[in-house]
Symmetry: C2
Subunit: 160 residues, 2 copies
């Protein structure tokens, strides 16, 4: 349902201003540093990276291209099972391209937030396209998470 | 840094409208259903609850009062160690009151988001105070997470 809004300075509801304001924020303004591991990293080492960097999602690359993603939830599932975490690489258990949802640095923060909610993920890789041997690949240049979105929300609510 | 804003209808920057608008959203408008387990629930059963309800944090109660919280991150740490998850109850490993950050249903969503960021948690219990035998206790009535905040952000950016 559309929120009720007052008419403040004109016939245009203030809600439109909020909308316009929010749609101007870009992914590159709010993205943070991604934590990236190689496809052959063991699950155990990957979990260490997760804890040392205190993130909820790792992105996986191979030859400088995004190939997968793996979350704290995926790792917990694996840790509950009998998998040998020292021997099995993340490449075996990660969500694999083309099933990774990603955004471009020039996309809006709104678009990224909508993708996070629609696809029920905590974090998206921010990528730049490149071509290698005629194939379209994606270099990981950042990440946008629910934390980044929550931080903008706090900033918007702060007394300027 | 304060974002640059234009002056649209008056000398007051549109940014103030965004600020005013955001400060009117309350916790009770955006909170969702909390997933609660009892203090004597085994770690293993608690993790099942986490997966079945697809949440990142469980709140723990005892005699209808909030006594603790435990996150996916805490569970992953435990699952990596040698703990017998069938025998040890969540009460042993949870973060315990008074170290739980919480909010009231009448608090603003901004206030909740700020607490989430400042205390580096994914989710806060929404509580109502009650008195039992002269002691001030808190009943869990909801939760506010980064997901709830991300959803409001998407709503604010939607074409009304």
């Amino acid at each position: 349902a559309r929120p009720k809004v007052g008419y403040i300075y004109s016939n245009k509801p203030s809600y439109s201003l909020v909308y316009d304001y929010i749609r101007k924020i870009s992914v590159e303004e709010i993205m943070s540093k991604p934590v990236v591991v190689q496809e052959d990293t063991s699950i155990y080492d990957a979990i260490l990276h997760l804890f040392l960097n205190d993130v909820g999602t790792l992105f996986v690359e191979n030859n400088d291209a995004l190939v997968g993603a793996i979350s704290r939830k995926d790792f917990l599932k694996i840790a509950m099972g009998g998998t040998d975490m020292h021997k099995v690489p993340v490449g075996i258990i990660m969500t694999r391209m083309p099933n990774i949802v990603f955004v471009d640095p020039k996309d809006t923060a709104y678009f990224a937030a909508k993708k996070i909610i629609d696809h029920e993920v905590d974090s998206l890789p921010v990528v730049e396209k490149f071509i290698n041997e005629g194939k379209e690949l994606f270099k990981i240049v950042g990440k946008v998470s629910k934390t980044n979105i929550t931080k903008i929300f706090v900033k918007l609510g702060e007394n300027g």
